[in-house]
Amino acid sequence: MAEPSAKRRLEELGSEAEAAVVAAGAVSELEDVRVRYLGRRAELTATLRSIRDLPAEERGAVGKAANAVRMRLEEMIAARGAALEAAELEHRLEQDRLDVTLPGDPPFSTGHLHLVSAIRRELEDVFVGLGFAVLEGPEVEYEYYNFTALNHPPSHPARLPQDTFYLSDRVLLRTHTSPMQVRAMEAGEPPIYVVVPGRVYRPDTPDATHVPMFHQLEGLAIDEDITLADLRGVLLEFARAVFGASREVRLRPGYFPFTEPSVEVDVSCFVCDGTGAAGSERCPTCKGEAWIEILGAGMVDPNVLGYVADSGYDPERVQGFAFGMGIERIAMLKYGIPDLRMLWENDVRLLEQFGA
């Protein structure tokens, strides 16, 4: 009577194992269950292995029953295993939760370019787009390039030590970027389209609107047929690029020794949109004028071209315009910097506001 007892034993084994599977609370426990009931030394495994020892007529029934138990157990273990794994992953993910509001790593952003550098680059890029090359020049300069070749007569007051830093009788710190007009023309034939950014110096006692060192950007365009109207067009593009697409520019007569005609260039106020008004008050930026003086310019004086005639600048054959603007002035206007001296103080609380 081996058959009934074997079958009964299999059933017992099956329900015992099923209970164990259900009771397993972790993947590792479930593995223990699997080894215990389905492993090589498990009773069920032994039973299956011993089937061939049974009489032939019993083999079929017992084998079938044993296989059924095994398959069922395997299915249950797989299902239970998947559920346990999912639960365990769920638990681990929950454990891994971070405070996503803590600072990132590294917890600081990048550094900053100085505001003046940032604006200088912006201007350079605008003029490169308009077809100008970018040149730089010496800051320690000859009086010849700074004044003489720019048509300043020997008695011109700007030459006095009250207005110019001197290193020797003939050598000074350039008072504007304009000497590069002459150097650029000496160095290459027309046509020439250049802008020259750089530091310039004047012995002004520092106050809110004066510092002894500041930055300018010079422009020079010489060709056979450059006109004052071209100057207006170029500066209009500049004004719109820097101050906004709806800006207009206005040319007024002015005076500079090295341009004739000379013009002062105003841009329509970008704060009040050229109305002069801020609500019922005067616009504080343009002081109600609707226009802001932004730079000086003009047609290059024939006398200046005369100094570089040997390099191909015959004033009867070529002509052109020049302009010069103060980069700090743009900084003050555009970003509301109240005091020029702050720019060279290099306080990081100011530096970190710009140029990221």
Partner: protein
């Protein structure tokens, strides 16, 4: 300069508001600074009054109760607090309801029990002056009570304040300003008030009364003088005082006021002498003797240099030419004979004198711009009329006129086609004629498409060439009418140069690694350099610095960075990374052009492109913090390796080969300082190091590491981008080997690396030191460096045998320097 609008309108009245006139001037070349409204609201409530009597207020010691005749049927009762009020005075009266200059409305208040029905005014209450010590007492020169005050005082006017550019001395006279208004608007301009010349009287000659002489024609182009007799000195009439005050001048006496008035109309300054006080009746113009002294009209004794031009009489100086008269021979109430001077001085000389003395006057401001000698006689003519009309004077026949080199009128040609070619828009020929004629030019045809213009004396300094005439036409035609066009740009291409692009890239790299850019002054102090151990004598010195603080040009960027660090550390931000990108300066060295005596290159007039000093663009950084503290890691202070890491990053970006070797600098920790060199030619590219402790102390900054690189030199070495072609680094795998090398402590990493490279041969692609270990197992004075080596062959996969062979070669090379591979 202040231009009273009412005065301006008396010459040319275009029927525009003051602000419209200001716009006309601004757009035609005379820049308007401000438009003032001076004085009271509605002038009708202000009248001339006579104080009939003034009695002490019954309830207040300091107040007076006045009865004032203001032209009404009954006198008014006015309570007045001024100490100087007295019966009989002609005064300025505001009737109740008047709007004062400050906007308040005058009522009829009770003052200590007495109702005040109006107000007696002080200068400042009328907005015609600053005086508030007492009421304004008017000159009793025929004014009747009830006369509108506006006829006696400039109580309500508009004043256009203009800024005069050096080329427009003509605009320093109201008539010159009116001429621009005329040119733009076409409104008629009255005849030039300086044109008519009154007849003299008498049979004597000016030469019999006085003598003038220019001893130095270098300083005086012309000296004219007229003699007036029977001069009655007294106050000027109200209309003249009003104009002077509106223009910002204080009335003094009729004779002095005439000189100022003529100047304010014509821009030609004049000076009046009491001829009886002119010693020897002789005027000589000469230079001052060095150190000569003179007391000017303002009561200040001034020491003069030999450049100063003097007006002298027979016994000594009586005034500084073109700047200010002296107290000798000043016109006084007793004066009856006047010598009226109108001279032409040399602009640059007057400017130097005025600057040198720190004495800028109405006269010097005009002379320094350069006046034409013809204007002197224009001034004399107008002054003569006023001397006769206002002072009852007799003009003695003849003008004393020292005029060594008479100057004619300038003639300038203009090709009409050039106007359009230069400004971009053609101006019709008849408009060109009209504009120039309105500006006072005489215009004649000068052949086909050309004209010739005779320049008026008042514009002689500014208009000398064709381009100048074109400017005149363009500014009146209207610059703002020009179209906006763009140049054709033949052959010109806009771009930045390779050095500029590289510099931006390097600056960006520092910025993106957390450093912030500073901009510091290019000059520093000698003591700052001394605190760095740098000899200030080698720096370029400024002859006229604003202060010692900025007296030498910096030879390195470090001082500016230290100052910025000091500033921020003092303001609670010690943890920083700062950089600057700017020029440094040095004298040209011996082998360069230049003479030894001058720290900067000496040059002839045209330097032909030479540069007077050695300037290079540097890039420097100063760091106190390599990694800021975070919530899960400690801060890391910046040390040598932090600075070196940045330098290496920059050099990789530049694409150049370099080497770094020990290199001391006086301001760096001697054991933590290095020089950066180009690998190819050994050229010095800069330095890296930690600050010397003594420098930290001297500058009061926290410990910091720094570097400074020569961006120009790096740009020269940097290869053009895209220079190398493609290399195949993927077809065959690399073999990575880690080795630990044990060597003596003082053997540098560079030596170890060199030995490893020598042994590894060409198959070694890269080498990286990833650990440094010291420990007892190694023995005293030994260290272990861990290196990761990457081997690769371009054409095959390396075999284990090949790599093993390299490893044994490396072992051999290391043995030669006393090192070995650790198992």
């Amino acid at each position: 300069m202040r231009v009273p609008v009412a005065w301006l309108r008396s010459y040319c009245d275009p029927g525009l508001s003051a602000s419209q006139i200001a716009d006309v001037l601004t757009m035609s070349g005379i820049k308007v600074e401000r438009l003032h409204r001076v004085g009271v609201g509605d002038p009708a409530a202000f009248v001339v009054g006579r104080v009939l009597e003034a009695e002490r207020h019954p309830n207040a010691d300091r107040l007076s109760v006045c009865r004032v005749d203001d032209g009404g049927e009954q006198p008014r009762t006015i309570v007045c607090g001024a100490p100087n009020v007295a019966g009989g005075q002609m005064v300025a009266v505001a009737r109740p309801g008047a709007v004062m200059p400050d906007g308040t409305h005058l009522g009829e208040p009770k003052l200590r029990g007495v109702r005040s029905s109006g107000m007696i005014l002080a200068e400042d209450e009328l907005g015609v002056g600053e005086d508030h010590t007492g009421i304004l007492v008017l000159e009793d020169d025929g004014l009747a009570p009830g006369t509108p005050l506006a006829e006696a005082l400039p109580i309500a006017d508009e004043v256009i304040e203009i800024e005069i550019t050096p080329n427009r001395p003509d605009a320093m006279g109201v008539y010159g300003v009116a001429r621009d208004v005329h040119a733009v608007t076409g409104t008629p301009l009255v005849e030039d008030p300086t044109a008519p010349d009154p007849e003299p009287a008498g049979a004597d000659r000016a030469e019999e009364h006085a003598h003038v002489e220019i001893a130095d024609p270098e300083i005086c182009l012309r000296f004219t003088a007229r003699v007036f007799e029977d001069v009655k000195v007294g106050p000027s009439p109200a209309w003249l005082k009003q104009r002077l005050m509106a223009a910002g001048q204080r009335p003094i006496s009729n004779v002095v006021d005439i000189t100022n008035y003529v100047m304010l109309i014509s821009a030609q300054p004049l000076h009046a002498f009491d001829l009886d006080q002119v010693r020897g009746s002789r005027i000589v113009v000469r230079r001052a003797h060095e150190g000569e002294a003179l007391t000017t009209l303002d009561g200040v004794e001034r020491r003069l240099s030999s450049e100063v031009a003097l007006v002298c009489d027979a016994e000594g100086p009586s005034g500084i030419a073109g700047v200010m008269g002296g107290q000798v021979s000043e016109v006084s109430a007793k004066t009856t004979r006047v010598l009226m001077e109108a001279a032409t001085w040399v602009g640059p000389n007057i400017m130097r004198t005025s600057r040198g003395l720190g004495l800028r006057t109405e006269a010097s401001a005009r002379f320094e711009k350069g006046l034409h000698p013809e204007l002197a006689m224009a001034g004399q003519r107008l002054a003569t009329r006023l001397m006769i009309d206002l002072c009852g004077a007799r003009l003695v026949p003849g003008t004393l006129d020292a005029y060594p080199k008479p100057v004619g009128r300038r003639r300038v040609g203009l090709r009409l086609g050039r106007i359009g070619a230069l400004v971009g828009e053609a101006v019709p020929e008849d408009e060109v004629h009209t504009v120039l004629e309105r500006l006072g030019f005489e215009v004649a045809h000068g052949g086909t498409g050309q004209l010739e213009a005779v320049v008026p004396p008042s514009r002689d300094g500014d208009v000398q060439r064709e381009a100048d005439l074109i400017e005149e036409v363009a500014r009146i035609h209207g610059l703002d009418r020009l179209p906006a066009t763009l140049p054709a740009r033949r052959r010109a291409v806009g771009r930045m140069g390779p050095a500029q692009r590289l510099r931006r890239r390097l600056e960006d790299a520092l910025r993106d690694r957390g450093a912030s850019e500073v901009v510091a002054y290019s000059f520093t102090s000698p003591s700052a350099l001394e605190r760095l151990g740098v000899d200030p004598a080698e720096a370029l010195a400024i002859r006229n610095p604003l202060s010692e603080e900025g007296s030498v040009m910096r030879p390195l960027l470090l001082p500016g960075l230290l100052e910025a660090l000091g500033h921020n550390a003092a303001h609670g931000r010690p943890g920083l990374a700062l950089f600057e990108s700017a020029h440094v300066y040095a004298a040209v060295t011996g082998d360069e052009e230049g003479d030894g005596s001058d720290p900067v290159r000496a040059a002839e007039e045209a330097p032909a492109g030479a540069r007077p000093a050695r300037e290079s663009h540097h890039l420097a950084a100063l760091l106190t913090e390599a990694v800021p503290p975070t919530w899960r890691a400690q801060a890391r202070v910046a040390d040598f390796y932090a600075a070196k890491g940045l330098v290496e990053a920059l050099l990789v970006i530049a694409g150049i080969e370099w080497r770094i070797e020990p290199g001391a600098r006086p301001f760096l920790h001697p054991g933590r300082a290095a020089t950066v060199r180009g690998a190819a030619d050994g050229r010095e590219l800069g330095w890296i190091g930690e600050l010397h402790p003594l420098v930290e102390r001297a500058w009061e900054v926290p410990p910091a590491a720094a570097f400074e690189l020569d961006a120009d030199a790096i740009a020269e070495l940097a290869p053009a981008r895209g220079h190398d072609g493609y290399r195949d680094l993927t077809s065959f795998p690399a073999v990575v080997q880690d080795v630990a090398v044990v060597v003596d402590e003082d053997l540098s990493a560079a030596r170890v690396e060199a030995a490893v490279r020598a042994g590894a041969g060409e198959l070694l692609r890269s080498i990286r030191i990833f650990d440094l270990y010291r420990g007892e197992q190694l023995g005293a004075g030994r260290k272990s460096l861990a290196l990761r080596l990457e081997f690769r062959a371009p054409d095959r996969t390396l075999t284990d045998a090949e790599v093993a062979e390299r490893r044994s070669e490396i072992e051999g090379a290391l043995a030669e320097i006393g090192g070995g591979l650790r198992a």
